[in-house]
Assembly symmetry: C2
Homo-oligomer: 196 residues x 2
C-alpha cells in the first residue's frame, strides 16, 4: 500500500542545511563512494557506497511521487523541470508561480493545503510511495498525522546551526519505532515508522 | 590512553531534554528491557535490552571520571553525592556551591575553565576515559578541541523543541567519523570519533 515517507539528509544535530541553505556537508555522501547511481537527470549522478546505492535504488524503485515546499522549489529552480527521482512533483504553495518556464513538466502546484497535496500525490503514485522532502511539509504532515515513516540519512557532522529537519511541532512528542539501519560511507540510513 | 567522550541520550531532532528539562522520553530506554544493570546507587538500576546492557557495562568498565555543568548538578541535586557511574565528578562552574551537603563526596568544583576540568578529570581517571554529560560542557570541549569521541544514545522520538545536545558552536562544522552502531530497544547507540 502506498505510504508517505519523509526523507532528507540530516546532520547529527538535526539540520538539513547550514544557516545559509548550504548543503555541502549534508549532501557530501552523495559523492563519497565508488558506485555510480544514475538518476532521471544528467546533472545528478550519484557516486556512493554499495550500501547507499542499495538504499537509493530502493527509493527509485518504490517512490512514485514527491511532495516539496515552495521554498525548496524556488531554491532549486524547480529542478529545471525534472526532479532527479523522475516522478511527478507536488509543490505546496500559497500561490502558483506565474513565471514557471516548464509548463509541460509533471509539476503540480497545490494551493489548498497538505491533505490535498498528499491525496493528489498518492493518486499519482498509485501503489508506490510518496516522498516528502521539505522540512515545513514534513512538519505539516506530522501535525496532520499523514506521515507513515521517516528516513533520515544521518550525516556524521555537527553544524551547530542551520535549517532543522523537524522544527517545532503542533503535537509533540512524536514517537517512532526503532529504526532499520544501513551504514554507508559518510551516512547512516535510519528508517523509522511513525507510531500513531 | 584516556579519552574524553561526550555521552548523552538524544531525541532524533537533537534534544537531550524537553523544553521543561523533562527527560521522560529520552531516558525511557533505561527502563525498556529485561536485563538488570545495577549502578553505584540504589535509586538507579537500569532495565534494558541485552544490547544496551553491553553498552552500559562497557561504560562502567572504561569510564574513570565524569565532567558535568553546574546546571545539571543543580537539576539533579548533585546526584545526592554519588553519581550512578560511581566515579569522581568534576563540575564546571563559576562559583562553588556554599551549601553542598556532601563535602566528603568525590566531587570537585572547577572554577578555572574547561581545560582545567579536563586535565583534572583525566588525572583522576588514570588510563580510563572521561565522560562529558552536559550540553554546555560538550560545546566547550568541542570548541576547545578537547573531545575525542561522541556517543549519542539516539532515541526514536521527535520532541519538536527542548535542550539541544550540541547547540551553537564557535567553530563549525565539526566532522565526525562514521559511527559504530549498537541497536537496543528504544535506543540506537552511535559512537563517533571527532575528526581533528
Amino acid at each position: 500500500m502506498s505510504e508517505v515517507i519523509a526523507n532528507m539528509s540530516m546532520s547529527l544535530d538535526g539540520f538539513i542545511a547550514d544557516a545559509n541553505d548550504g548543503i555541502e556537508h549534508v549532501f557530501g555522501w552523495y559523492g563519497s563512494g565508488d558506485v555510480t547511481v544514475p538518476t532521471a537527470v544528467e546533472w545528478a549522478t550519484f557516486r556512493v557506497s554499495e550500501a547507499s546505492a542499495g538504499v537509493i535504488r530502493h527509493g527509485q524503485a518504490t517512490i512514485g511521487a514527491l511532495i516539496g515546499g515552495r521554498r525548496l522549489f524556488d531554491l532549486t529552480g524547480g529542478w529545471g523541470g525534472t526532479h532527479p527521482m523522475g516522478v511527478p512533483v507536488f509543490i505546496v504553495t500559497h500561490t502558483e508561480p506565474t513565471d514557471w518556464p516548464h509548463p509541460d513538466a509533471p509539476f503540480t502546484f497545490v494551493t489548498d493545503g497538505i491533505e490535498s497535496a498528499v491525496a493528489q500525490a498518492k493518486a499519482a503514485a498509485g501503489d508506490r510511495n510518496v516522498a516528502v522532502a521539505s522540512p515545513t511539509i514534513v512538519r505539516q504532515c506530522l501535525d496532520a498525522g499523514l506521515l507513515d515513516a521517516v528516513q533520515v540519512d544521518l550525516v556524521p557532522v555537527v553544524l551547530g546551526k542551520g535549517i532543522p529537519f523537524f522544527g517545532e511541532l503542533a503535537k509533540s512528542p512524536v514517537r517512532l519505532s526503532d529504526p532499520t539501519i544501513v551504514q554507508g560511507e559518510g551516512v547512516t540510513h535510519l528508517t523509522y515508522r511513525v507510531q500513531r
